[in-house]
């Protein structure tokens, strides 16, 4: 199959990839482009084929059909670029009977990182995942979230160009999650690519690009905002008003779309076409309080999968 020139700047490019396990089709004509230098989120419910796709990218699966290229190499040659790929399995692959330091040393050794280079990197990464003080504890004694963080550190030790992280933030607390995302932003700023899978919507909101996977297919791709727009979701505005009925009628006359009037609470819900409408609205009514409710990605995907 011929590739167009633009494909050369892609970190991963899949064209019509098929994979079945027995009679179950796990990847079904999957086509997706993952550009370099971004954090790309592969979002999808459990069993949608995210892990299978990641394993296909690293050459751990025999594909039934389609074309898959990784860092401009056909996947059949992916072995030759393993030193440029960081792969964090969904199973957090570590040695519980080694200390954190020993685990990191081991993975550094696999990538032939010199000793003088190794120590500062280990310190830096342990600091990033907030495990520096546990350096000499056995990995098996760590809690689930800590184990997860160590696994991420082990995956980053050789500073890979393409990071494939399979559900990396399960069990990691929100504050530390933010640290991870900041770190990923730094990596992408250096031109590295981060591919993350998740089944959590709020996780996906943080990514520049989200690909929504369902039953082995990509059903929607774009930034979280784009996907919401694609799903036709609009923001809502809730207004607390002294005279909800009268104000609602006035707003309706002014061309606003009234969703709901709650007389008891004194709340009027308006569906906005765009955020620009808010300014004009204030010329018509003087609310006691107001709250803007953005549509969630979850609603968007729900809408999209209903439509599909």
């Amino acid at each position: 199959m011929a590739y167009d020139k633009s494909a050369l700047s892609l970190a991963v490019s899949a064209r019509g990839v098929d994979k079945s396990f027995g009679r179950i089709k796990v990847l079904d004509d999957l086509t997706v482009d993952i550009p370099r230098g971004v954090t790309y989120c592969l979002l999808g419910p459990n069993g949608s084929g995210k892990t299978t796709f990641i394993r296909a990218i690293v050459g751990m699966l025999k594909l039934d059909g389609g074309d898959l290229r990784v860092l401009d190499q056909p996947v059949s040659e992916v072995q030759s670029i393993y030193s440029r790929i960081g792969y964090m399995t969904q199973h957090k692959a570590l040695y519980p009977d080694l200390t954190l330091q020993e685990n990191l040393e081991f993975f550094a050794g696999l990538y032939s990182i010199e000793k003088q280079e190794r120590e500062p990197r280990i310190t830096k990464l342990l600091d990033m995942v907030n495990l520096l003080e546990h350096r000499h504890r056995l990995a098996g004694d760590l809690s689930g979230g800590m184990y997860q963080r160590l696994s991420l550190a082990c995956t980053l030790i050789h500073e890979p160009e393409l990071l494939l992280l399979d559900e990396p933030t399960v069990g990691v607390d929100p504050r530390l999650r933010q640290t991870f995302w900041n770190y990923f932003d730094r990596l992408t700023a250096e031109g590295k690519t981060v591919l993350i899978t998740t089944h959590l919507m709020d996780e996906a909101e943080k990514c520049k690009t989200v690909g929504y996977m369902r039953a082995g297919r990509m059903t929607a791709v774009g930034s979280p905002d784009e996907i919401k727009r694609l799903a036709g979701l609009k923001p809502h505005l809730e207004l607390w008003l002294k005279e909800p009925e009268k104000d609602a009628a006035r707003l309706k006359d002014a061309g606003y779309e009234i969703d709901e009037v709650d007389i008891a609470k004194g709340v009027v819900r308006i569906r906005l076409q765009s955020h620009d409408q808010i300014k004009g609205l204030l010329e018509n009514v003087a609310p006691l309080d107001m709250r803007l409710k953005e549509p969630t990605l979850e609603e968007a995907f729900l809408r999209l999968s209903e439509a599909a």
């Binding site: 994979k19 396990f21 394993r55 690293v58 050459g59 751990m60 699966l61 025999k62 594909l63 996947v75 059949s76 072995q79 393993y82 030193s83 790929i85 792969y87 399995t89 969904q90 199973h91 957090k92 692959a93 570590l94 040695y95 519980p96 009977d97 080694l98 020993e102 081991f106 993975f107 050794g109 696999l110 990538y111 032939s112």
Partner: protein, 376 residues
């Protein structure tokens, strides 16, 4: 795609990285340390004492080829004699040579052969005398039952014929105790057992932890990975076999007539074979629990068929080929030669070291190929 395509680049440093990790893990495993020190002691006591039987009396082998009921009864009636029934004369020969029997009587319808150990004359004479008096008794019974023919043959002539019935053969035994012959085999057994089980479990864990998949997606080749394991475990084999050798020689008085380093060469090769065998078989187990179920399949046949506790000649012929493909058969043979007879490396090169080497190479290849890159 590249299913059976081995990455054959070999980087010694990466092998070292894997070996170091394996050593760190083994070092931290308390069971391992316990196994290294206590297993040889327990096994020596178990096999050495228990199998040696009651050595206080005269142990006589009997190969019953038919007839001579009176002679049999006579020998059986002697209080000091422990009679051990054997299948063939060659078994008897072997056991007498090894000093495990003081002698043996082979009964055949028209001949009785007595095998004796030339190194212990007193016991030999006792056995011979017992056989002769038994034969005389038998002849007397025979004459009693045939009263009509009593006049025909002269009595003295029959007596001399009776004496001629007995053919005496002297063999030269090692004059060794059971403990001595068992000692070298225990060394082999302990190393084999420990390495096989530990290696299988380690590889099962690599698989279930997901670290195997991480290896696969790294510059480490499969050859490097298995080699790293061999190297790491070899250091432990050295430690373990040294401990076992000390226990066996100093603790139980088994001789070490050859060079201990030669024995270590044998043990290292055996351990490497056990490791790759364990790695290979780990592919057929899904959990550590299932590894334990391999023991009857992999370990027990080696114990039964390696020719230490009873000679290979006494193993039925249709099973015997199995003995000749089991590494412990060769390791046991080589270790006995080194420790008991003082053999050097060149003496055990063929078939023992050769066979162990072939076993290792075959399963190294098999283990490496089984570490598949792709699943499904």
């Amino acid at each position: 795609m590249t299913g059976m395509n081995l990455k054959v680049n070999v980087d010694l440093r990466r092998i070292g990285v894997v070996a170091l990790r394996v050593i760190r893990q083994l070092k931290r495993d308390r069971r391992t340390i316990g196994l290294i020190t206590f297993a040889p002691i327990v096994l020596m006591i178990l096999f050495g004492y228990a199998l040696s039987g009651d050595m206080s009396g005269v142990t006589l082998g009997l190969v019953d080829g038919g007839g001579h009921d009176v002679l049999k009864a006579h020998l059986g009636g002697i209080k000091d004699f422990n009679i051990l029934y054997l299948g063939s004369e060659s078994d008897a020969e072997k056991l007498v040579s090894q000093g495990r029997l003081n002698g043996a009587v082979v009964l055949e319808p028209d001949e009785v052969r007595v095998l004796l150990d030339a190194t212990s004359i007193q016991i030999s004479n006792t056995i011979l005398a017992a056989a002769q008096s038994g034969a005389r008794e038998e002849m007397a019974k025979l004459l009693e039952n045939l009263p009509g023919q009593q006049s025909q043959g002269s009595k003295s002539g029959d007596m001399s014929g009776d004496m001629n019935l007995i053919v005496t053969r002297y063999l030269f035994g090692y004059d060794l105790e059971m403990m001595d012959t068992v000692g070298p085999a225990i060394l082999g057994l302990v190393v084999f057992f420990f390495t096989f089980i530990n290696a299988s479990i380690s590889f099962i864990r690599e698989r279930s932890q997901g670290t195997l998949e991480k290896f696969m997606v790294s510059p480490l080749s499969r050859v490097e990975m298995v080699s790293g394991y061999v190297l790491g475990f070899s250091l432990f084999t050295l430690l373990q076999s040294t401990t076992t050798l000390l226990v066996v020689t100093y603790g139980f008085g088994v001789p070490m007539r050859g060079n201990p380093l030669t024995a270590l060469v044998v043990v290292l090769l055996l351990g490497a074979g056990a490791l790759v065998l364990g790695s290979f078989f780990s592919n057929f187990a899904r959990s550590e629990f299932q590894v334990v179920q391999f023991i009857p399949l992999i370990i027990t046949p080696q114990i039964v068929l390696c020719g230490v506790w009873w000679p290979l000649q006494s193993v039925p012929e249709f099973i015997r080929p199995i003995s000749y493909i089991l590494p412990l058969t060769y390791a046991g043979d080589a270790l006995r030669a080194v420790m008991l007879k003082g053999a050097g490396v060149t003496d055990i090169l063929y078939p023992d070291l050769f066979a162990l080497g072939v076993f290792f190479l075959v399963f190294f290849l098999a283990a490496t190929l089984m570490l598949r890159r792709e699943v499904g």
